[in-house]
Amino acid sequence: MTAEQLIFLIVAAVTLVAGISVVTSRNLIHSALWLILTLFGVAIFYVLLDAGFFAVIQVIVYIGAIAILFIFAAMLTRRVMQDTGPQTNPNWWFGGLIALLLFAGIAFVLINWQGFSSLAPELANPSGRINQLGLALVSLDQYVLPFELASVLLVAGMIGAIFVAGEKKQ
């Protein structure tokens, strides 16, 4: 059990607990906070996977923006009555069963996959990764199209959100 594995297990446990509580907590704001904790966990995982850039991006994008959005949404749509009743719809157990089945299926597939327990190869010039990623995202023969599409998507999302949720001043 190297230090790294130890850290992995601790963080994994914490994140999973947070994940489960996101799904099961009664208070919406609490589930938002648990979500933030899970996102932190995921960020740490990225660090473990030697993708520091992604960890920071994860923090900025998810925690910095999306989590806050969730909290905003939770507050805007808060009404006392809502938080009391059972937070799950009637046939919740069926959902759980299906989720478990899904997990079993995925696990089965993964276990049978030959590369399942391969170990991490040595990472060449870790510092140049960001440069390489940046170039890949903008160079024509690689990923410029999805990158541009993503930007268009973001703009469209923004405009859409403003239009849909904006106060119609009649």
Binding site: Q5, A12, T15, L16, G19, V22, V23, L28, S31, L35, T38, V42, F45, Y46, L49, F54, V61, Y62, A65, I66, L69, A73, L76, T77, R79, Q82, P86, T88, N89, W92, G95, G96, I98, A99, L100, I106, A107, L110, F116, S117, S118, L119, A120, P121, A124, R129, L133, L137, Q142, Y143, P146, A150, S151, L154, A156, M158, A161, I162, V164, A165
Partner: protein, 102 residues
Amino acid sequence: MIPLSWYLMFAAILFCVGMYGVLVRKNAIAILMGIELMLNSVNINLIAFWRYRSSDGIAGQAFAIIVFAVAAAEVAVGLALIISIYRRRSSVVADDMNMLKW
């Protein structure tokens, strides 16, 4: 060293928890949170596969970036919709929104 399997299993579990949240939670915003969890697990998978299988290439990371962008846009639009529905129907429960036009 941490084998790839750990990451994959962790991601799978997280994915299923998110799935459960989406299927089961009554509140629309909780459903969105479930979706966020699922997207994050997908991202972990991507980065894990990048790191363990093809760390010389850049495909994994590029796709992770795209997933980030899509997730952000999805949440923004999702929440906007939910808020506008809430404003009209003063309810955020997913089951109440069962008509295309009201």
